[in-house]
């Protein structure tokens, strides 16, 4: 009797899941499998030409200088952007969670950058950092710079401009997530620490931060995944070239260039995407281990 019921339930469960499984299977799983398949081939999808070349596409990732530059660029991007955006988001959330005046107004204003499209933001930042733009003018007028710096054309600065834009536009989103998380922190812990004589800063370090560890894990993962796939900003910024001097060449941009346009090296592009997902997986794993979200007391 019991057995029959279980079986019944299993069938029902599968039936309920099947629409989602079918859709995911067709549009996500099958494309992943197909991508894996063509990453081992030299392909021309127009003519339907497939030639098995084993690991050649993967080997090329390690010998190709462009690919190496792209991976180094994106790693440095992630290393700078993710910690900064996480820390700023946490601090801003903590501040906005206190009873300061007009906090709803602040929350709204801070959230605006996230709502703006990254393409429009890139154009605005390119204007701000242009040779005759406001940033240069301000810095020269305040005697911080002796003459204008060409931020957009200088390989030393180009990626940093994109970094600052990325931090600026993603912080509010993570701040909102932290704000939601802060609602769940029990007031009693703060009260207890007050009794113990902790000041505001100590409460933040010893209560807020540890209590928010699970949220931090989520923010870190989302940040890592988002930054590794950075494409649109670099594309608009460099007009698709990844310049100046390869300084804004990201992996996603290189994948796009190999897959579309005149190159038609889909096999190499998919191999690179798979490599990228492996790197994202490893970095996320390390970040999660470092954060140790399960050590809540």
């Amino acid at each position: 009797m019991k057995n029959k019921r279980k079986k019944h339930e299993a069938i029902q469960g599968i039936a309920f899941l099947s629409p989602a499984i079918i859709v995911i299977g067709i549009f996500i799983m099958s494309s992943i499998i197909f991508a894996l398949y063509i990453s081992f081939h030299k392909v021309n999808l127009f003519t339907g030409y497939y030639e098995f070349i084993g690991l050649d596409n993967y080997k090329r990732i390690f010998t190709d200088t462009k690919t190496r530059i792209a991976f180094i660029n994106i790693l440095s991007f992630v290393v700078v952007v993710v910690p900064i955006q996480t820390i700023i988001a946490l601090i801003m959330a903590a501040v906005l969670n206190t009873n300061i005046r007009g906090k709803i107004g602040f929350r709204t204003i801070y959230f605006l950058p996230t709502l703006t499209s990254s393409a429009a933001l890139t154009m605005i930042f390119m204007f701000l950092f242009s040779l005759d733009g406001p940033v240069n003018k301000l810095a020269v007028n305040m005697n911080l710079l002796s003459e204008s710096i060409n931020f957009l054309n200088n390989p030393k600065f180009a990626l940093k401009v994109i970094m600052s834009m990325n931090i600026w536009s993603t912080v509010p989103f993570y701040m909102t997530i932290y704000l939601a998380g802060l609602q769940e922190v029990p007031k009693s812990i703060y009260e207890a620490s007050s009794v113990d004589g902790a000041n505001g800063f100590q409460k933040f370090i010893h209560v807020t931060v540890p209590q928010l560890k699970p949220i931090t894990t989520f923010v870190l993962l989302m940040g890592i995944i988002g930054t590794f796939q950075m494409f649109d900003q670099a594309y608009i910024f460099s007009g698709g070239s990844g310049g100046p001097e390869n300084s804004t060449l990201t992996v996603a941009l290189l994948i796009y260039r190999n897959a579309f346009g005149q190159n038609n090296t889909m096999g190499f592009a998919t191999a690179m995407s798979i490599m990228l997902s492996i790197v994202v997986f490893i970095v996320s794993f390390i970040a999660q281990k470092l954060n140790k979200s399960d050590s809540l007391y």
């Binding site: 629409p19 054309n153 200088n154 001097e245 579309f260 005149q262």
Partner: protein, 422 residues
């Protein structure tokens, strides 16, 4: 009973989902079947073709709709348009997925690539009256003696100057003189502080015609980059000397999206730009008083770039005759006149140029003159890579970190490494 019902419901739902897909494909096969057997013109009534294009401004959309309307009235063939926002990506995906439109815009720049992939149908020279077209424009789609697309219009570059600050007679006759002489320096002194004398672009699409002056070529052995060639370096020297001295700047340097905005906002006095900017200036900056002249000569030669787009037929279309009929009309005397007059573009046919009297427009005339001697923006199937590396390394020349020769050599090496690996 309730459980049974819920199972039934979900199963039905998932089947419904599948049925949706199935029904669609069934529809397609029916139309395909009914259309394969056709021959005479009479049969074409009620046929339907899909035309793929990218969106332009409102005037272009209106002109296209007018051409389609006239065409449908005349032949009875219905036209459905498909608009691309990211042409190369979407069109390539459709070709691979076998859902590409019957007739499609082909950019001259990408034509060699699509022709080499064998996705375009060769078109007959006589049938489409190609002898009436400007030489460079019809040859843009020529490969192995066959034409694969018919040019629908074109644009060329010309020099625009703001009449408030620049006198046409003062503009030097040669590019060398313009860039390296005192004209721009003197002009700069005269201009308000936030206005520069001239903008330029770091893009082979704009620089190719002078880079290739005097028999120089940016490509060797058909596919490899030849940017480091001493002749090419020499040809590009005047431009980048001027840029290094700060006489000319890119639109991005002065915080503008492109030449058209820089010029319209009166941030620059001179620019070299295509005729697509005319509509932009007249619509958005009606107060700017400007003149247009042909680009000054370089090393004694007249030169400019031309950009053309043609109509091509997808090789796997089932509607060959209707598709040909459409191209025939759209690139014929009547269709092209409607299109070019409505969209404000330049007609690729010499007879339409005459009949529409477009050359009488003083602002368009310098562009039309260029059609005869222009260099088509098209260079094999590796230009993307070559131009990317060019754009990648040129900024260091302007900032003074590399010499022009060094940068071009470096970009040649990088491009060739990529081309070889592919």
């Amino acid at each position: 009973m309730k459980k049974f019902l819920s199972i039934l419901l979900t199963v039905l739902l998932s089947f419904g989902l599948l049925a949706g897909c199935k029904g669609d494909s069934k529809d397609n096969s029916v139309t395909e079947d009914s259309t394969t057997k056709e021959n005479s013109k009479e049969d074409m009534k009620g046929k339907k073709i899909v035309v793929g294009r990218w969106g332009g401004n409102d005037a272009e959309t209106a002109a296209f709709n007018q051409v389609v309307k006239d065409f449908t009235e005349k032949t009875g063939i219905e036209v459905e348009e498909r608009i691309y926002t990211d042409y190369n990506t979407e069109f390539q995906a459709e070709l691979i997925g076998k859902t590409a439109p019957d007739v499609v815009y082909i950019d001259a720049y990408m034509a060699p690539f699509y022709i080499s992939q064998g996705v375009l149908m060769p078109l007959d020279e006589q049938e489409f009256e190609l002898d009436k077209f400007y030489e460079p424009l019809k040859n843009a789609f020529l490969s192995d003696g066959k034409y694969y697309a018919i040019s629908k219009d074109y644009s060329t570059l010309a020099l625009y100057y703001n009449k408030k600050w620049v006198n046409e007679d003062d503009i030097p006759d040669t590019l060398e003189e313009l860039w390296n002489g005192d004209f721009l320096t003197n002009l700069n002194d005269k201009l308000p502080e936030d206005v520069i004398a001239m903008t330029y672009n770091q893009d082979l699409a704009r620089n190719l015609f002078y880079a290739e002056t005097d028999g120089a070529s940016v490509i060797k052995d058909d596919i490899y980059s030849n940017l480091g060639d001493s002749k090419v370096v020499e040809n590009l020297e005047p431009l980048y000397t001027s840029a290094k001295e700060g006489k000319i700047k890119t639109p991005a340097d002065i915080g503008q999206g492109w030449n058209g905005d820089a010029f319209g906002n009166e941030k620059t006095a001179i620019m070299i730009e295509g005729n697509w900017v005319l509509g932009h200036l007249q619509q958005n900056f009606p107060d700017v008083d400007f003149g247009v002249i042909e680009i000054p000569t370089f090393k004694g030669n007249r030169g400019t770039m031309t950009f053309t787009v043609g109509y091509a037929i997808n090789v796997s279309t089932k509607q060959v005759d209707a598709a040909k009929e459409f191209i025939h009309y759209a690139t014929g005397v009547e269709g092209m006149a409607t299109w070019s007059a409505g969209a404000g573009v330049l007609p690729s046919r010499t007879d339409v140029t005459e009949s529409t009297k477009v050359a009488e427009d003083l602002l368009k005339m310098p562009h039309i003159k260029g059609a005869v001697y222009a260099t088509v923006w098209q260079k094999g199937t590796t230009m993307d890579t070559i131009n990317n590396e060019y754009k990648n390394y040129i900024p260091s020349v302007v900032s003074g970190e590399r010499t022009l020769e060094d940068a071009l050599k470096k970009s040649e090496e990088e491009a060739n490494r990529t081309i070889e690996a592919n």
